[in-house]
């Protein structure tokens, strides 16, 4: 909305605080980290002794059962929460040491549910992602950033429609486009695939991969372990406010660990063509055959449930 000319005028206005623009992080550099993090909500410890680092150029997936603390960890990394103990560092500085405006240049956050009080058109919602850069030299990227973000999430077709007239999945993609348009070095996405169809789930994770390939750090909360296995560089399994396991998908996505954490027997086996781990709940199969071993064999399920 703001043309380049008015940007120059704004820079001349007195009292306009100049913020330090972030310099791009080198691949593998620590972009954000939580150390000994403890967060209590309503008197109950939701995170307890969590330590994790996010590096530039990687996709980190946070998985775990409901109430494991995934969203809380994401909110803590976004500097939304004041930790009870421990510390969150963003860009090498304690999260509390940045102002809201400085943080907005360094991390973008996709909330779980996208809401809007007034019916702004889609294009303007995406453009809101450029607000932090107003008055900086990178304001000139606005048009390109918005257009690319809308193309990447395939929302151009309804650019002129009001946000309130969209379906849940379309809203989720518009919200993601806004986050992409912010062009920060750290992306924190809370269940970006929850409302999406198969094609767009893959699309969103591909976008995450592309951003990581371009040198950004991406943290994404996922429920679909298959998506995590296929697209994440590292997976952290959260359970009861702690990190149960963290590492490459092939190491972490282990049938024993997942069965215990999710309290649901699962099988993990490599994809016949790609070798990527596939995680499938143990089911009795489509034929309700009384002879099926899974239905009536208690030993079988016991062995999968683990100790």
């Amino acid at each position: 909305m703001t043309s380049m000319g008015s940007a120059r005028w704004k820079a001349l206005l007195p009292g306009r605080r100049t913020r330090a623009l972030p310099s791009p992080a080198a691949r593998g550099e620590l972009v954000a980290e939580a150390v000994g993090l403890r967060v209590a909500l309503g008197g109950q410890a939701v995170l307890d002794g969590v330590g994790i680092g996010v590096r530039a150029g990687e996709v980190l997936a946070l998985v775990g059962p409901n109430g494991a603390g995934k969203s809380t960890l994401l909110a803590a990394l976004a500097a939304d929460l004041a930790p009870g103990a421990g510390e969150v560092r963003i860009g090498g500085r304690p999260a509390g040491g940045w102002t809201a405006g400085e943080l907005a240049l360094r991390r973008a956050v996709l909330p779980q549910a996208a809401a809007l009080t007034f019916p702004f058109p889609v294009a303007e919602v995406v453009r809101m992602g450029r607000a932090p850069w107003a008055g900086t030299e990178r304001e000139d990227e606005d048009e390109a950033a918005v257009a690319l973000a809308m193309a990447a999430t395939e929302v151009e077709a309804f650019a002129g429609r009001p946000f309130s007239a969209l379906s849940g999945g379309e809203r989720a993609r518009v919200a993601l486009a806004r986050v992409l348009a912010q062009r920060t070095g750290l992306l924190l996405l809370d269940e970006p695939t929850a409302a999406l169809d198969l094609r767009h789930q893959e699309l969103v994770l591909r976008v995450c991969r592309e951003r990581a390939a371009a040198g950004d750090a991406v943290v994404v909360v996922l429920h679909d372990l298959g998506l995590a296995a296929a697209h994440a560089d590292r997976v952290a399994v959260l359970h009861g406010g702690r990190i149960e396991a963290a590492g490459a998908p092939s190491e972490v996505l282990d049938a024993e660990v997942l069965s215990r954490v999710y309290r649901q027997p699962v099988e993990v086996f490599p994809h016949p063509r790609t070798g990527v781990p596939l995680v499938v709940p143990v089911r009795s199969g489509p034929h309700r055959d009384p002879a099926s071993p899974h239905l009536h064999d208690p030993d079988n399920s016991a062995s999968l449930t683990g100790p």
Binding site: M1, A151, E156, Q182
Partner: protein
């Protein structure tokens, strides 16, 4: 980001088009509102029991501003400058304050039904003003009533804000119910002041309460001018952040908005504007609701147009309303607040029905 270029490249960013069209529409709307305001002001200055032709009004204004023209005869000059013009200026100030306050409140509360009248801010400010009149307070001279209205209005905004919010948002039902409670309490306080007031004060308070600009004088204009101008000048600087606040508090913070500071600043501005309007004109409802809604329908919810546009629109509505109040039942005069409520209530009703039909109501 380079990898994203692989996505189907669009020669012209689709995002660029709708805002451009919208900017054009903003300009057209602003110009037509300004033209309407100017026309209404000139008509208002001329029409009344003592008719002054439009040419004479222009001539006298030119004469006084030293741009040629000529002075009128003594009666006409006196009617124009001591009775009509202060009233026109007051109507414009009050209308602009109410319209702008409505747009700001709806943005801050994230709620399209927030309006100083509906949720009790006007009533709260009225308690301050009535108290000042009934107790015969004059400690700040001309500004006493305005200051008392401001303090009481500010206390009310803070109270409503604290009581109607939970978990970072305001539910419509809670907000409206809070408004009912606040209005009832304020009504009781005003009743108490009336009970202890003498007859002359009761008459003064009653007329003032109905909402009227009949006693407009230049000193009265001066009494509200600082409040109104300060509020109107500060408000547009928050437009961009108000847009972001529509995403919710957390997302707004993620985009660099200091939400707490924004809220406190805007609540102060709303209290200033409401106090300015209530102190001189009593409780005039629905202007702050009607004007921002109409403008949102015409030009979308972007606050960069909506906030100044609502001030302009509010001024137009009140200038027209006051002209109607003076002339419809001439030589008698309808109270302005009664007239706006008469026209505003059906609009409110229509708004409820429409929202209900479109999105199943405000939950």
């Amino acid at each position: 980001m380079t990898a994203l270029v692989e996505a189907p490249a669009t020669p012209e960013p689709p995002a660029a088009r709708p805002p451009a069209r919208r900017r054009g529409r903003s300009t057209v709307l602003t110009v037509s509102l300004l033209a309407a305001l100017l026309l209404l002001s000139l008509l208002s200055a001329g029409i009344g029991a003592y008719e002054i032709p439009l040419g004479d009004v222009l001539a006298s204004v030119q004469h006084r501003t030293g741009l040629g023209g000529h002075a009128l005869d003594r009666t006409a000059e006196s009617v124009l400058w001591n009775i009509r013009l202060p009233r026109v200026v007051l109507a414009v100030l009050v209308g602009a304050s109410l319209g702008c306050a409505g747009a700001l409140m709806q943005g801050v509360f994230g709620n399209p039904l927030a309006e100083p009248g509906v949720i009790g801010i006007s009533a709260g400010a009225a308690v301050g003003a009535v108290g000042a009149i009934a107790l015969g307070l004059t400690f700040l001279g001309n500004w006493t009533v305005t200051v008392c209205a401001f303090v009481a209005g500010l206390a009310t905004v803070l109270l409503v804000y604290a009581m109607s919010r939970s978990g970072g948002r305001t539910e419509v039902v809670t907000l409206i119910l809070t408004g009912i409670a606040v209005n009832a309490f304020a009504g009781a306080l005003i009743g108490l002041f009336l009970f202890f007031a003498d007859n002359a004060q009761i008459t003064q308070i009653t007329f003032w309460q109905l909402g009227s600009l009949a006693q407009a004088t230049w000193p009265k204009v001066l009494a509200v001018l600082p409040c109104a101008l300060l509020g109107l000048a500060v408000a547009p600087f928050h437009s961009r952040r108000l847009d972001l606040l529509a995403l919710g508090e957390r997302p707004a913070r993620h985009l660099g908005v200091d939400v707490e500071r924004l809220r406190i600043a805007l609540v102060l501005v709303v209290a200033l504007l409401t106090a300015a309007a209530v102190a001189v004109a009593g409780i005039i409802t629905f202007v702050g609701l009607l004007v921002p809604h109409l403008l949102r329908m015409a030009n979308g919810p972007g606050h960069r147009f909506l906030v100044p546009g609502s001030a302009l629109g509010g001024a137009v509505v009140l200038a027209a309303g006051d002209l109607a109040a003076r002339t419809v039942a001439a030589p008698a005069e309808l109270p302005l607040g009664v007239l706006t409520a008469l026209l505003g209530s059906p609009f409110f009703f229509w708004l409820l029905r429409r929202t209900r039909r479109r999105q199943g109501g405000w939950a």
